[in-house]
Amino acid sequence: MSKNFVDFERPIFELEAKIDALQNVSHENDVNLNEDITRLKEKSRQLTASLFSSLTPHQVLKIARHPDRPYTHDYIQGLFTDFDELQGDRFTSSGSAIIGGIARFDKQPILVIGHQKGRGTKQKIHHNFGMPRPDEYRKALRLFRLAEQFHLPVISFIDTPGAYPGIKAERHNQSQAIANNLKVLSQLRVPIICIVIGEGGSGGALAIGVGDQVLMLQYSVYSVISPEGCAAILWKDATRASEAAQAMAITAPHIKALNLIDDIVPEPLGGAHRDVAQMMQNLKEVLRHKLAQVMHYECDELLNVRYQRLMSYGALQSDVT
């Protein structure tokens, strides 16, 4: 196990450290400790299963933000072949909080796009911690148009704390950049599949998150404002994020119950970071199925279904129009 763990993972981490130590001893001294190792492994599995059977929304949030959690680039590597990254908004910037390009999924050419958080200080800064600025939404828009031009289905990975709140971002009209993407995506003439892989942070997430199928990984979150932001506004106290996470219903099952997403993709025991290969396998299967489903439609029908889906979000009964 990696040395990164979140607070409630500590008991699992300690057990795993023991297992690692035993394996080392066994290997270096050529003694057979298999029985003990197997016993501890089983214990670790049970402990993980028990901890993960009753996660609070705030614990899910921590898993969604886990430093070892696979990021967009890991999914690109794990799911696709022949990836060519395409860069730049063609106006002013080559920002990388959103990355994208063309690749193949089961030989089918696709356009892939997603927020990239970055690992390690240097990468994190390079990718602006996955917090897009207006230029990056406009780069995304350019890639969406490219997909439309060449009839490539779009696969979008969502993983952002939110849009970047900065002076330059406002000067470059962040609001318009997000709004325009929402408008264009609602009519983009190719199938779009969106997958929330970690954090679905507000408008920053939605700006590449309008599609024909919207999926969430089991331990991802999706929210209108970060729980810290919500707590700061409602309780004037950002440390009450745990309560805000609970109140806002940010986890996949809650959001599925509100009919705002289509499906939840199961994660390996202990979360995607504990078995990345298994995670890729799970997602690959779901993606195959979903892609076949959305590619089945004629374009106009696809757009009509997409429109009806958007109109169904929070639909209410009305007596008059």
Binding site: N173, S175, M248, Y307, L310, S318, V320
Partner: protein, 293 residues
């Protein structure tokens, strides 16, 4: 009795409640503190004649000032707010809604109507800031879509007066999705070549700014309105430096190309009428209402 004198009693009683100015015929400007004759302030559509400060208007007042008369038809006025999450912070969402209804005398944060502007039939939607900071939940989104649908059906232009803190947290992700919903509806309006005029009032931020408000074919702001995606406090905390003078104000947006024009409230009605008439290729309109100045 003119439309204006009809309005006066309700106007003065509301501003009294808000500002706590003692009963009487005098009022104080929120910005320059000059003492103003209340009737004169109302005649100026609540723009300070001394410093030009635009005082807040309720959505109803806005419609009454903007449209030819109050013979408008409300659109989807019976939609009921749903407490999707059984949300509770320091107060229950349900109680907050009750308080908001009392504070604003409206049942939600957006009013949608079909009315007339210089005799042109139009659809107007206006945000009510006194209803949970004009925040956009499911009713606001749905009512906006209904308004767009009336435009599509009857081939009418749409005018929106935005003033909002953004998405309504108490409705969780349902409120975020309203951004996608209203933007998709506006795409239909574009398809049908129907103009959408977006008017930005003080303040317009967050999810409302980042969806319908910034999608106008023509975008107009009232002077000195705070307009932006992130609030200034959040930005200041993030960047840790003092924000530039006039940051996120109408004049800043105009300078950086985000909006088409800044229009004084007292000229808004005729300016919009003229813009709309040109976009729908109708003759130049003349004012059908008693002149204000």
């Amino acid at each position: 009795m003119s439309w204006l004198t009809r309005l006066l009693p309700s106007v003065s009683s509301q501003s009294e409640q808000r500002k706590g100015v003692p009963e009487g015929v005098w009022s104080k400007c929120d910005a320059c503190s000059v003492t103003l004759y209340r009737a004169e302030l109302a005649r100026q559509l609540h723009v300070c004649p001394k410093c030009g400060h635009h005082h807040k208007l309720s959505a109803r007042q806005r419609l009454e000032y903007f449209l030819d008369d109050v013979n408008y038809t409300e659109i989807a006025s019976t939609l009921q707010t749903v407490d999707w999450l059984k949300f509770k912070d320091s107060r229950r969402y349900k109680d907050r809604l009750t308080a908001a209804k009392q504070a604003s005398s409206e049942n939600e944060a957006l009013i949608a109507v079909k009315g007339r502007l210089c005799r042109l039939p139009i659809v107007v939607v206006a945000f009510e800031f006194n209803f949970i900071a004009g925040s956009m939940g499911a009713v606001v989104g749905e009512r906006f879509v209904h308004a767009v649908n009336v435009c599509l059906k009857e081939k009418l232009p749409l005018i929106c007066f935005s003033t909002s803190g953004g998405a309504r947290m108490q409705e969780g992700l349902v409120s975020l999705m309203q951004m996608a919903k209203v933007s998709a509806a506006l795409a239909k309006l574009t398809d049908h070549h129907l103009p959408f005029i977006s008017v930005l009032l003080n303040p317009t931020t967050g999810g409302v700014s980042a969806s319908l408000a910034m999608l106008g074919d023509v975008i107009i702001a009232e002077p000195n309105a705070l307009i932006g995606f992130a609030g200034p406090r959040v930005i200041q905390q993030t960047v840790g430096e003092v924000l530039p003078e006039g940051f996120q104000r109408s004049e800043f947006l105009l300078k950086h190309g985000a909006i088409d024009m800044i229009v004084d409230r007292r000229h808004l009605r005729m300016r919009i009428a003229s813009i709309v008439a040109k976009l729908i290729r109708q003759p130049e309109p003349t004012d059908t209402k008693t002149a204000i100045n």
